[in-house]
Symmetry: C2
Subunit: 199 residues, 2 copies
Amino acid sequence: MGHTGGSEIEQLVQLLARLPGLGPRSARRAVLHLIKRKDSLMIPLAGAMQRAVDAVVECQICGNVDTVSPCAICADPRRSQNTLLLVVEDVSDLWAMERAAVGPVRYHVLGGVLSPLDGGGPEDLSIDALIQRATDFSEIVLAVNATIEGQTTAHFITDRLAGLDVKITRLAHGVPVGGELDYLDEGTLSQALKARTSL
Amino acid sequence: MGHTGGSEIEQLVQLLARLPGLGPRSARRAVLHLIKRKDSLMIPLAGAMQRAVDAVVECQICGNVDTVSPCAICADPRRSQNTLLLVVEDVSDLWAMERAAVGPVRYHVLGGVLSPLDGGGPEDLSIDALIQRATDFSEIVLAVNATIEGQTTAHFITDRLAGLDVKITRLAHGVPVGGELDYLDEGTLSQALKARTSL
């Protein structure tokens, strides 16, 4: 007993369950959803996934993922090198910044953070490549997460860049736009007060 | 601005976001997860999805999904017709029963429930097919959800089967195994007390 309807279906369930945010139960729901919408969703999705497999490459300059290398951002003439270089942990952070339409900046994807406990050392991050690019820009913004590991990584990178003639900054801490003070931690509130601006 | 790295990636994000349980944000995370695990996950998943597209069919007897019709359950010689027929709303309910290893039963997938407000009428469900199969079995168990719509559907089916020489039952209500009384609604507790069994 214990049929889940054929090895093809079971295999699809098991692979989908390995995506972040999906477990075995939601993967089964997703597969049934796909089977019911074979023409409108399952066939297009299978095709899109195969096309992405064939097309996606990592940008050899910044570490972004795109269908060309250099990626569309690195190749964009409106984003000259003599501008801000945003150092991010991951491609998802690059995408988040692009959604925020932060302007004609460029990026450097580290590929993670320093995490001594998990065995993630500097050699796993693209720090050497960052040092080689750094002096092409007027300013390096360390746009890493405001976590302990992110801040540790920022300090490490600041030390490594110390000898170079380039300005290094980090993102501001403060109250999120739309955020309520009541829900914020003390650290954020304290930083927001220290960094207050005049009206 | 607003690059998310090539139209192939963007298209994959948009299609994945249409799966239940995934929104735009988790679809983007899933796509990055896939791109980072191209060989170990993305290529196998693209292949598994294409194979499922080609292989999956609906069982012409019970409405289950499988790679053959009649499905493996309907074709299983250990599940003779002269046994229980479990009437379920959806294939996911069939799978749930099979995971519970309820024994050598067979199934009839209705394909939904009666929901007059959403325009779901009896003609959308496989009730005529159920009536044709019903007398092949010793007992019909209406294993529909304990929702108002499920119970309405059960009543409707009971009326339709009334003339036939077949026993009709429903799943027991009661305390879920491992459940705490304190968290259960009054209806469940009241039904569990009425249906109490001797030790």
